[in-house]
């Protein structure tokens, strides 16, 4: 069992060892935890054929827009609103699959038998109409993502109320109880995430008081005459370098 609360707790202890009274709020640590967990989940998902992050939403309501609303809603188009946040991966792999709902099939059908929607993007959709084999239809339907919506092609003339979606959901620590749920990615990448969080903490604590922007500008003194050096090279190194 690995939870975000455990991770944040251990990072908090680590960052609490600085000898002054600077403190990073716990909420911020949870936010960083979310970033990093999602980052490593994304790596893991792209490298491994795993169903660990697949969430099946059996009945997602299909909406037919009655009026156009800018942006994204077009009158007459059928679409669904993404029910959860998904990982944004190449070729929209964050949406693993979309099929017709099981309600529209005889009982006990398997996942593979149900009519699948094929992923396309809004630009390539034009090309589908060039070939008789690819033209969208109810037996060969397509979906495309735009923003937080998924639009459909080929189902304009049929009545469906729901579709089934398989989503690669991202982790959200600000949903009730989520910080105490098992977070799989921590079992493999816990050390990496811990190191990255401590690194972020160090960076955040490094920002000194005198770097704050007070809005005043006082260029006094002469312009620098020495050559400008990269901030990534220490002065000591520069001094020891023979030119």
């Amino acid at each position: 069992m690995n939870t975000l609360r455990q991770l944040v707790s251990s990072v908090d202890i680590q960052l609490g060892q600085v000898p002054d009274d600077e403190k990073i709020p716990t909420n911020q640590l949870y936010l960083w935890g979310m970033w990093l967990a999602n980052k490593y989940m994304s790596y893991k998902y792209q490298a491994a054929d795993s169903g660990a992050y697949l969430t099946i939403m059996p009945e997602v309501t299909v909406v037919k827009a009655s009026a156009t609303t800018t942006p994204d809603i077009i009158a007459g188009e059928k679409y669904v609103v993404l029910p959860r946040n998904v990982l944004d991966l190449d070729l929209d792999r964050g949406i693993e699959y979309i099929t017709y709902s099981r309600n529209d099939y005889p009982p006990n059908v398997d996942l593979g038998v149900m009519g699948r929607f094929t992923r396309i993007n809004a630009t390539k959709a034009r090309k589908l109409y060039y070939s008789k084999y690819e033209t969208p239809s109810a037996s060969n339907p397509y979906w495309y993502r735009h923003n937080n919506y998924v639009g459909f092609l080929g189902i304009r003339n049929i009545n469906i109320s729901t579709v089934e979606m398989g989503l690669i959901t991202s982790f959200d620590p600000f949903v009730t109880h989520s910080i105490d749920e098992n977070l799989d990615v921590l079992s493999e990448f816990g050390d990496e995430i811990f190191k990255d969080m401590v690194e972020l903490g160090r960076f955040a604590l490094l920002i000194p008081e005198d770097r704050t922007n007070e809005g005043s500008y006082n260029p006094g003194g002469e312009a620098p005459r020495e050559r400008v050096t990269s901030v990534n090279k220490s002065v000591d190194n520069l001094l020891n370098t023979e030119e």
């Binding site: 589908l128 690819e134 033209t135």
Partner: protein
């Protein structure tokens, strides 16, 4: 074609192997329609190379203009007959021969390089024994078969032609002996189009599969065409016997 209609493979049978190779299980890189289109194109190519499919078709004689458009998937006319009776049920039939470069737009007259009415032609002697109007002939021009006046005395036309196995837009069913060739062809087209996106991965795969498919004589394509040519054992054996009897 010497193959049972029962042993044709559905596109899904081919896809089951192809997407295993291309790893495009979700049809996210190419749509299923794209794969079907490639299968259809492969069967087209194999049809052109092997002349495998001979189709026999009957039509009413086109009495309004003596011209008949070839069916959609035809690409090579093998033989033409005219007959009376009912469609597909002749009471008498005659073979129609080809006349060079003849064409007509209506029933009135036709144009051809060698014609009995060309009495002033300094190079060709006009046909003298009989006129073309009394002969059964047809000419093929831009996918249209033109018939002579004499053909119009018959009610129906029977045409034998080579056609593609699957017309464009229809579900491509694959003869069993073409299975390997179709699989490799479709995979090759996939690698071909992916070469520009990931050249390091797909150029090598493309070259490997290209070699496997198109290697002369031993490649899968040549094997498939050879198979198609050697299928009709009955006709080949009988022809051998006729020829060996030596009294022809």
């Amino acid at each position: 074609m010497n193959i049972s209609q029962e042993s044709f493979l559905t596109p899904d049978e081919i896809l089951a192997d192809v997407i295993e190779e291309t790893e495009d299980f979700e049809y996210r890189i190419s749509t299923k329609g794209w794969y079907l289109s490639q299968m259809q194109q492969c069967l087209e190519e194999l049809s052109f190379d092997s002349f495998l499919l001979t189709i026999k078709d009957d039509f009413e004689f086109p009495s309004e203009n003596y011209s008949l458009a070839l069916p959609a998937n035809a690409f090579n006319v093998r033989d033409i007959f005219v007959y009376n009776g009912a469609i597909g049920d002749p009471t008498d039939s005659q073979r129609v021969y080809w006349k060079r470069a003849a064409s007509r737009k209506n029933t009135n007259e036709f144009i051809a390089p060698n014609k009995s009415t060309h009495t002033e032609d300094p190079f060709f002697s006009p046909l003298s024994q009989t006129t073309e109007a009394e002969q059964l002939w047809a000419a093929i021009d831009n996918g249209v078969i033109t018939f002579s006046d004499q053909c119009a005395t018959y009610s129906y036309v029977h045409i034998r032609y080579n056609g593609t196995l699957t017309p464009i837009g229809e579900t491509p069913f694959v003869p069993q002996f073409f299975r390997q060739a179709v699989k490799l062809f479709v995979s090759l087209q996939f690698y071909r189009k992916m070469r520009k996106r990931h050249p390091r991965v797909y150029r090598t795969l493309f070259n490997d599969v290209h070699q496997e498919l198109y290697a002369p004589l031993i490649g899968v394509w040549d094997t498939a065409v050879k198979r198609a040519h050697s299928l009709d054992t009955k006709s080949i054996d009988d022809m051998r016997e006729y020829l060996s009897k030596m009294n022809y």
